[in-house]
Every structure is written in structure tokens, then in C-alpha cells.
């Protein structure tokens, strides 16, 4: 399957979209610029030597790129330990500057929602009623075409 076909597959049937039946954490990634957001629902299996994410789901108010990023990253996160999930978030953040601005913002929002869910899980070990943490994106989400229209060169 080439890259195009793989992306289209994620568009046609996003993986892990929606709430999950049993969760013990959730986190939110938000873009304050345009109100877009991603919510990640997580169930971390605890009765194991190394607890790991055994189920994950997400919902999004956002564009198709956000949904594709959510589909890919939650699929990657499934089966990871807390440490592994943090590494995934760090690796995604490190990749952001190589992405076009509008794609970077969408991927960052998903990565932050995963990070927020992991942090909420840690907080809930001390306080079971700890509310879901929200993190805000740092990258801007201005589609290139709009930038072009706003700054005509001719």
C-alpha cells in the first residue's frame, strides 16, 4: 500500500474513532485559534507488570487531516506503556517542524490530547476524580492558500 492509499484508508474508515466503553483516563488537545479540538479516551490495563494502553479512542472537531492524524497516532499508541506513549508524543512533536503548518497543527493537537490523557491518568492515581487535562497547540493553523491570499506578491 503506498502513502496515498494508506492516508485514504484512514480517511475512509478512521481507526479508533469514537468513545470507548471503559476508560480510566481522557485528555484534550485544543486549538484556541479556531476552536478545533481532539479528545482522547484511554483505558490503561493496570494489572500487568508494566501497565499499558489496551484501548484508545478519539473524537475530533476539526478537519480531515486531524482525523487522519488521530487515526494514525492512536493506532500507534495502542499497546504502548506510559513511557512508550510519552516517547510517541515526543517523537511526533519533533516531527512537527518538518510538516506543512496546517498539518503540523492538526498532528500537534492529537499528540497533545494523548499527552493530556497520560498526564490525567497519572493525576488520577492520587485523585480519582481529577478532571481531564487540556493542552493547547503552539503551532498556527492557517492554510497556505489563505496566507497567499492575505499577502499577495503581485
Amino acid at each position: 500500500m503506498n502513502a496515498d492509499a494508506m492516508l485514504i484508508e484512514h480517511m475512509m474508515s478512521p481507526k479508533n474513532y469514537g468513545k470507548i466503553a471503559y476508560k480510566n483516563s481522557e485528555g484534550i488537545g485544543k486549538n484556541p485559534q479556531n476552536g478545533e479540538k481532539v479528545v482522547v479516551y484511554m483505558h490503561i490495563k493496570e494489572d500487568e507488570p508494566v501497565p499499558y494502553i489496551d484501548n484508545i479512542g478519539f473524537e475530533a472537531i476539526g478537519c480531515t487531516t486531524t482525523v487522519v492524524a488521530g487515526s494514525m497516532l492512536t493506532e500507534e499508541a495502542k499497546g504502548l506503556s506510559i513511557e512508550g506513549a510519552r516517547n510517541l508524543v515526543a517523537a511526533t512533536k519533533a516531527l512537527l517542524e518538518k510538516l506543512p503548518e496546517e498539518d503540523a497543527s492538526c498532528s500537534e493537537m492529537v499528540a497533545l490530547a494523548i499527552e493530556a490523557a497520560v498526564d490525567t491518568y497519572e493525576k488520577r492515581k492520587e485523585d480519582a476524580s481529577y478532571p481531564p487535562i487540556t493542552y493547547y497547540v503552539a503551532t498556527s493553523c492557517t492554510p497556505k492558500e489563505e496566507e497567499k491570499d492575505e499577502n499577495p506578491t503581485d
Partner: protein
């Protein structure tokens, strides 16, 4: 009634998207049946509002990737039979009988439908007799995913607003906008099936339709319609050389947005005048 609403919602979308997959006259029947199921959905919703039951538009994801039409038809028949069973618990017996009668007819008809080979998931990304550049194909692909979801989202939002409003003036506007979004969703779904990239839109998040500030929603909705117009204009330009027919279609959708914007402006002025009268 909650389960009944969810199952009917899922059956409506299954029926509609199976209609997109069909290459034959089955398509018209499936479209008609999906309209009937959408009406069932609104009747059940109305019954829930009357009974003071809380509800939302959550549902399961709907897998539709099949190789033969029969596979989907069997799934839908099972879903309809499940709904019929759920109807036994419905207090409003007239409503239950009305829906049940429709279901019996639909099940019989679906069982008699001829099978078809499905190409709606081939990922060919080609429209019959139209050669597009890679750039135009990518732009069209993204547009179809964005806008098919958007139209579904709008149907759900305006339906929710309509279900919770007794205002004749506003409900007329909401109904027109629902009908227009249905037309757009069908046009885009049809095109997605032809390009082999058909997918059911994702579940709409609650906060999008359980709107607290309708005027803010309408204002941002007008901006979104303007952005959609711009996207249609760009697509029309991108495909004009390869397919004047496709370009005309996007010009047509672009011009339809003008009407949506004027309806939304009418609704906005109405809400604001009501707000002013209460101030």
C-alpha cells in the same frame, strides 16, 4: 427509546450509503428507504423529547466496506429486524405500528433485490470519462471527505435545532437547510463511490449540535459557507480544462451556498431581533 434512536440512526446511514454503492435501479429504492428511516429517526426523537428523555446523536462507527451489495443488504435487514424487536417496548403503539409496517415492507423489498459487485472501495480515484491531474485529484479527494462530513454535520445540527424549536419561521429555514444538505451529501457520496473512496462520516460531537449560542453558531456557519464557496471556486478552476462538466457542478454548488448564506442571515436577524425584544 435510546437504543431505538441509535439503531435507526445507524440503519438510515447504512441504507443511504448502500444506495451510493449501487450501480442499478436499486439505488433509487435505497435512497427512498433511507429517507423513510430518517423520518423514523425524527419521529423517535420527537417522542423522546415529549417524554422528557435525554438523548444525543452518538452511534457506533458503521463499517460498509463490502464486495457485494448482498453483504450490506443482509446487514441492513438484520438491523431492521433488531429495530422491529425494539419497537415492542415503545409506549406509543401507533408510532410503533407505523414504523413496524414500513420495516416489514422494506425488509421484503431488500430481500428481493438483485446482487451487485461493489466498486465503491476500489480507491481508483477516477471519475468515469474524466482525466484529472494528480493535483486536482488530491484536491477533489480531500474536498469530498471534508464536505461529506460537513453536510452530515449540518443535517444533524439543523435537525437538532428544529427538534427543539416550535418557531414556524425558524423551522422553515432549518428544514430547507436540511434538505439542501441532503442533496449535497448525496451528490458528494455519489462522487465518492464513483471514485472508489466511499466512507461514512464520523460521529458528530455533542457540543456541535447541543448549541448554547445559536447566533454565534450562525455567524461562524456563514463564514464556513463562504470558505466552502471559495473551495468550490478553486476546484472548479482546477478541473475546468479537464472537465467543463465537473467545473459546472462545482459552480452550481458554489452558487447554492449563496442561498444557504442568505437563509442563515435571515435566521440570524430573527434571533437577534428576538434577543433585542427580550432585552
Amino acid at each position: 427509546m435510546k437504543t431505538l434512536l441509535i439503531k435507526t440512526h445507524e440503519a438510515w446511514l447504512e441504507m443511504l450509503f448502500t444506495g451510493f454503492m449501487s450501480h442499478t435501479r436499486n439505488r433509487e429504492t435505497l435512497y427512498d428507504f433511507s429517507d423513510i428511516l430518517f423520518r423514523h429517526f425524527t419521529w423517535i426523537e420527537h417522542a423522546m423529547i415529549k417524554a422528557g428523555e435525554s438523548y444525543d446523536y452518538d452511534r457506533d462507527n458503521i463499517p460498509i466496506k463490502v464486495e457485494r451489495l448482498d453483504d450490506m443488504l443482509k446487514t441492513i435487514v438484520n438491523r431492521l429486524l433488531e429495530i422491529d424487536l425494539q419497537l415492542m417496548g415503545l409506549e406509543d403503539r401507533d408510532l410503533a405500528e407505523r414504523i413496524s409496517s414500513d420495516i416489514r415492507y422494506m425488509v421484503d423489498t431488500l430481500k428481493e433485490m438483485n446482487d451487485e459487485v461493489i466498486t465503491a472501495f476500489s480507491v481508483s480515484r477516477k471519475l468515469p470519462n474524466i482525466e484529472l491531474t494528480k493535483e486536482a485529484t488530491d484536491a477533489l479527494t480531500l474536498f469530498l471527505f471534508e464536505e461529506s462530513y460537513k453536510e452530515y454535520e449540518l443535517i444533524m445540527i439543523y435537525n437538532y435545532l428544529k427538534a427543539h424549536s416550535d418557531d414556524v419561521f425558524l423551522n422553515r429555514i432549518f428544514q430547507i437547510l436540511i434538505d439542501e444538505s441532503f442533496f449535497h451529501l448525496r451528490s458528494f457520496g455519489d462522487m465518492m463511490a464513483k471514485m472508489g473512496i466511499l466512507g461514512v462520516p464520523r460521529v458528530v460531537m455533542k457540543e456541535l449540535y447541543q448549541i448554547e449560542d445559536v447566533t454565534a453558531f450562525l455567524k461562524s456557519g456563514i463564514k464556513e459557507e463562504l470558505a466552502a464557496k471559495e473551495e468550490c471556486r478553486r476546484l472548479s478552476e482546477a478541473v475546468a480544462n479537464e472537465s467543463p462538466k465537473l467545473a459546472r457542478f462545482f459552480d452550481f454548488i458554489n452558487n447554492q451556498e449563496n442561498y444557504h448564506i442568505s437563509l442563515m442571515k435571515e435566521a440570524l436577524a430573527y434571533y437577534e431581533s428576538k434577543k433585542g425584544a427580550h432585552a
